[in-house]
């Protein structure tokens, strides 16, 4: 009967969100950081869909769709920025991109 209660979905969504958060905090690879953010967005999506279904409200589904679109928009900017960064630094290490605070600002 788990499949028919909202709570199971919520647990999955929260676990996914937490794993995404974990990836953002503890990984240095910018690809993985980005994918973690995507994962967090997906977790929120699952939440929206599950809530929509259980509220009997299509709004939740629409919101999930909108979030997918937002994720796509962020993906565009993110990926192009990753390409630029990789070209300049030849590295995927996010620590490499935090030189601002160390060097004297121009």
């Amino acid at each position: 009967m788990i499949a028919n209660t909202l709570f199971g979905y919520i647990v999955i969504a929260m676990v996914l969100f937490s794993i995404g958060l974990l990836g953002v905090i503890s990984r240095k690879n910018i690809f993985v950081i980005y994918m973690s953010i995507e994962l967090m967005l997906n977790a929120v999506n699952l939440l929206f869909v599950a809530l929509g279904t259980y509220h009997n409200d299509m709004g939740g589904h629409v919101m999930a769709m909108l979030v997918i679109a937002i994720a796509a928009a962020e993906a565009g900017v993110f990926l192009s920025l990753i390409i630029v960064l990789y070209r300049r630094k030849k590295s995927l290490d996010s620590d490499m991109f935090r030189t601002l605070s160390q060097k004297e600002a121009v």
């Binding site: 980005y34 967090m40 709004g59 909108l66 937002i70 900017v77 991109f97 601002l100 600002a105």
Partner: protein
């Protein structure tokens, strides 16, 4: 009916279509940067002109309710904030002119993105639904990310853009999670309905909504760079092109406060006192840490970035006290936003004017003896510093007066005292600059090319400087020209419009 509603939306429509138009024009080679700049200016001016028509009237409307349901709201409040955002953008475009001319890199799409971000900010203030607000926030933020990283020849630009993007996206997911929780608890995300649903839940367990709203507040605190989320501020502000920094520091903050005030004051009003302790802690930490950061900075740009954190602290003081103080305190936050907006805009603008040349490093030391070479610029910079420090005869002083009065009125005398302590420490880092400019003999270093005063940028900055002083002393008894009282009255009016049901 349709036409009035169209009229309400006209500023938004003008800005959006201007942005699209600029985007379409951007591949045209024969248009110069100046053309684009001018075009941007005209569009913003047009939008502001339309906005002014509704300024100072008390009303609330859901334009095109049949079409857009209640996702969008236009009231005196949003009109007021629109005017602020638009004038911020106008000023940015004016003070940026010189910088963009020198750098020769900001052209074409840059202005389109700029208008898009203005559009996003305005939309944020008009948004009456959580997800719409988030999309508006994303439009504004995404354009800002790209604007920061626009000049790819600099490592630090791209780095700043990257940092802001990553942290902004993470905070964005929290906003979405928060919305999801609120949606779970209340079954709706439309702002007006939230309050009603919340009222119905009174007496029951609302921890879900509290957690959800806390997540939204996290995003909000991140964007205004309050305490636990302030780390990005200095680096990102430092890495951005100066006009963009000014735009972020002043205008974006206005827009964010615009949204969050609406959310907190109206919809989450029944449970707002839950966060009071949290806010008090955040304020204290923000003031403390921001002050500390500001003191240790060598570069002027970084100091201004750090001091913007301190000003966030002051704004938050006003934010917590609004609910408990009387009606008079309500406008304090709006007034302080204006005050900070003017002073920061002027300071960043002037520094961007001075430092437009690639090789000028803007540290404190570079301003040694500055006043003897450029007396007028030094005087203007001093005015902005005095205003940021809150010295009488500037608008910053009146702003601080409102904030602290409001805090005392709300019973937060303790916070007011903390704000005062932060203020007098801030005298150190602001006056240091004035002292350096005036009290040392001029030393013209080789290779520094500081432009002379000419063109539109210095005029704009001069006008801002006069406005800063006028805001501090001006009143109807000197001349029949809108002064402090006018600002307060309209701010109060806009605040009142929030409560029209």
């Amino acid at each position: 009916m349709l036409w009035t509603h169209l009229g309400y939306l006209l500023p938004l429509i003008i800005v959006a279509s201007g942005a699209v138009l600029l985007m379409l024009l951007s591949p045209v080679e024969r248009f110069s940067m100046e053309r684009f700049s001018l075009f941007t200016f005209v569009i913003l001016l047009l939008a502001l002109g339309v906005d002014i028509v509704y300024f100072g009237k008390l009303f609330t409307a859901f334009p095109m309710e049949g079409l857009f349901s209640k996702m969008l709201i236009v009231d005196s409040y949003s009109v007021y904030f629109d005017a602020l955002i638009l004038s911020g953008a106008l000023v940015t475009s004016l003070i940026g002119t010189h910088y963009f001319q020198i750098k020769r890199h900001f052209k074409k799409e840059f202005f389109s993105l700029f208008l898009f971000s203005v559009f996003g900010m305005m939309l944020l203030v008009h948004a009456n639904e959580l997800l719409t607000a988030f999309i508006a926030l994303e439009i504004a933020s995404l354009s800002l990310y790209v604007m920061i990283g626009f000049q790819k020849i600099h490592d630090k630009r791209v780095e700043a853009s990257y940092q802001y993007l990553v942290l902004g996206s993470i905070s964005g997911t929290f906003f979405l999670l928060g919305s999801a929780l609120i949606y779970a608890g209340l079954g709706t995300t439309i702002l007006g309905d939230l309050g009603k649903a919340l009222d119905g839940l009174m007496g029951k367990d609302v921890s879900l909504i509290v957690i959800g709203a806390t997540f939204i507040l996290v995003t909000f605190l991140f964007k205004i760079s309050a305490f636990p989320f302030q780390n990005w501020t200095i680096d990102v502000y430092d890495g951005s092109p100066l006009p963009v920094t000014a735009f972020m520091a002043a205008t974006f903050k206005v827009a964010i406060f615009g949204f969050i005030l609406r959310l907190m004051l109206i919809d989450l009003d029944p449970i707002r006192d839950i966060w009071d302790t949290l806010f008090v802690v955040v304020i204290l930490a923000t003031l403390l840490y921001g002050t500390f950061l500001a003191i240790i900075q060598e570069s002027l740009k970084r100091m201004l970035a750090a001091s913007s954190i301190v000003h966030t602290g002051y704004l938050l003081i006003a934010f917590v006290s609004i609910g408990y103080a009387g009606e008079s305190a309500s406008s304090s936050i709006i007034f302080y936003l204006v005050a900070y907006f003017l002073s920061a805009m002027g300071a960043f603008g002037l520094i961007s004017y001075i430092a437009a040349d690639e090789h000028v490093r803007v540290t404190y030391e570079d301003f040694r003896g500055f006043a003897h070479v450029h007396p007028y610029m030094a005087a203007m910079l001093s005015v902005f510093m005095l205003s940021l420090a809150g010295i009488p005869s500037t608008i910053g002083f009146v702003g601080k007066f409102y904030i602290f009065t409001g805090a005392i009125e709300a019973g937060y005398t303790f916070l007011a005292v903390c704000g005062i302590i932060a203020t007098f420490i801030s005298i150190y880092y602001y006056f240091k600059l004035i002292a350096l400019m005036y009290f040392y003999p001029a030393c013209e270093k080789e290779g520094t090319m500081i432009p002379t005063l000419s063109g539109i940028t210095p005029i704009t900055i001069g006008v801002i400087a006069i406005a800063v002083i006028w805001g501090g002393i001006g009143n109807t008894f000197i001349a029949y020209f809108p002064g402090v009282d006018f600002l307060i009255d309209t701010a109060r009016l806009s605040y009142m419009s929030l409560f029209i049901k």
